[in-house]
Amino acid sequence: MSAIKADTIIEPYVLENRGQSLFQVNRRVFVDDKILTLEERRIFDKCWLYIGHESELPEPGDFLTRDVGGRELIFVRSQDDVVRAFFNTCPHRGAIVCREKQGNEKMFRCMYHAWAFDLGGKLISRPEDERYHAEGGDDIHDLVSVAHLENYRGLYFVNFDEAATEDLSSYLAGAKEFIDLTVDQSEVGMEIVGGTQEYGFDANWKLLAENSFDGYHGMPTHTTYFDYVIAAGGQLGDAGTRVNEIHDLGNGHAAIEYGGPWGRPVAKSVAGWGEQGEADTAALRAGLERRFGKERADRIAYHNFNMLIFPNLVINNIMAVTFRTFYPQAANKQHVKAWALAPKDESKIMRQRRLYNFLEFLGPGGFATPDDCEALKMCQQGYQNLNYTAWNDISKGMGENSQITTDEEQMRVFWREWDRRIQGAEK
């Protein structure tokens, strides 16, 4: 794709005209390197970014390495049981210190000159230490911690901004309610199951932000998935609930909430699961009712939601629960990480149903995700014509009294926040 010169960028990037019920996004925001640089500085350097789940580090000494927002990080549970995040870079001359994806260690030793660090990041030994005489801060030879690391109900987030004033809880705002609805599925807690899916494709990262909670594309893009659901004994329209809403959760976060034809391993069975499935989900639902009362139990059991926590954590609580992050490698390329979340105390058969559900829709081999990626690649390719056709339309539902999940208000929530941050505006 030919590069667009920075000086040819035409603002505005986002146009909202409420009087005309028109919302447009400038297609240059998907192709321009100058925008990408602004996103790095004003979004990924400033926002709270998901790094991992507490269940990925169950024991002291457990660690994993992960790139988050273009940074190579070590995410570790130290011997003192404190969860920490370090930049995975040697204070000596910069080599990646920890080269494994995950494991359990008592210390990290850099391969290059063998500086060794404890899991709190402190330098504990180095060859020929007696030949160092530098005066300075005590910690200049230690691993550097990320500025902020906090967790909400087991979900850990980092913030690279030393000057950040907003803590995680207030940043998450209304998104906490939907995290609660997911985590409350289990009395004993949730866990990441079976590792991380990593895949990439040629489309701007914001296209996946939009797609992850786009209710409008469901039928046209995923007809083959719905064909399959029917073949597997699901019934379209058999949703357990009539809810159909969009929620603006504050700070650029939004969710769509709706009923679906698929079985939910939480507590909604489908014909394909048989009588056993009915009995299993009835028992789970009774447990939810005991803990939360009928109304909230029904919501946890029946309601699907797709949520985007700005800028790029997707939590989709649908036929299974998936977490997903995605970062730009270039304006037209992104890398995705995806996980499955499940109750720790889930029965073997329900876990089977959950993973079976997950794979039929989600991930690189699913019946749906590859078609999403194809759609986003087609958009990216289409933007080569942006000098002649410059605007995306995100207006669906504007001017209506209420918003339904096939409208586009959730995307407008994302774009308003994106634009505010890119313009450098105060809240």
């Binding site: 899916q197 083959t224 499955a340 690189p364 081999g365 995700t369």
Partner: protein, 170 residues
């Protein structure tokens, strides 16, 4: 090399017969003859693609696979890939399945396991993706016909950042 089933000393299959079978399978996949390809499987067969870099004992009960199809879903996968609405494979990608290093691993009562290395190229819309790894098949001989009971395709790569998906049969 050949394998003789322990329960049925009359049944022997040689490596070159197996190679013929695997090369035929590859040809069907290259030609997108998936309905015919499905007939190489016994009813009740499984088709798995574990996550990139998995060891040979990877189990979909505790690992997040890319594909863990039972026979029903495999049948549905074939049906889906035959439809124009399977957007990722429409228009159809061009594929070449290269198969080599065929070895018979072992034989049990009435089945045997065969491994091969593979490189599969998928080309569409100006870019070519490369899938590489090894297959482990569990097979049986039914009435003189080789049938696949289980096919597991291990991707010997770090992740799918370059491939993005497993939308073809590899």
């Amino acid at each position: 090399m050949s394998v003789t089933l322990t329960q049925r000393s009359d049944v022997t299959v040689t490596r070159s017969e197996l190679e013929d079978f695997l090369f035929y399978e590859a040809a069907l996949l290259d030609a997108w003859e998936l309905t015919e390809w499905l007939t190489l499987f016994a009813e009740g067969a499984d088709y798995w693609v574990p996550p990139a870099g998995s060891s040979d004992d990877a189990d979909p009960a505790n690992k997040l696979f890319y594909v863990a199809d039972d026979y029903f879903r495999l049948t549905e996968r074939v049906k889906r890939l035959g439809k124009k609405a399977a957007h990722v494979e429409w228009p159809k990608s061009r594929c070449r399945h290269l198969v080599s290093n065929v070895r018979i691993l072992d034989g049990t009562d009435d089945s045997f396991r065969v491994t091969s290395n593979f490189v599969t190229y998928r080309s569409k819309n100006g870019s070519t993706e490369i899938y590489l790894g090894h297959h482990i098949y569990t097979m049986s001989l039914t009435g003189g016909d080789i049938k696949i009971l289980k096919k597991v395709s291990f991707l010997d790569v770090d992740n799918l950042n370059d491939q993005g998906k497993v939308s073809i049969i590899i």
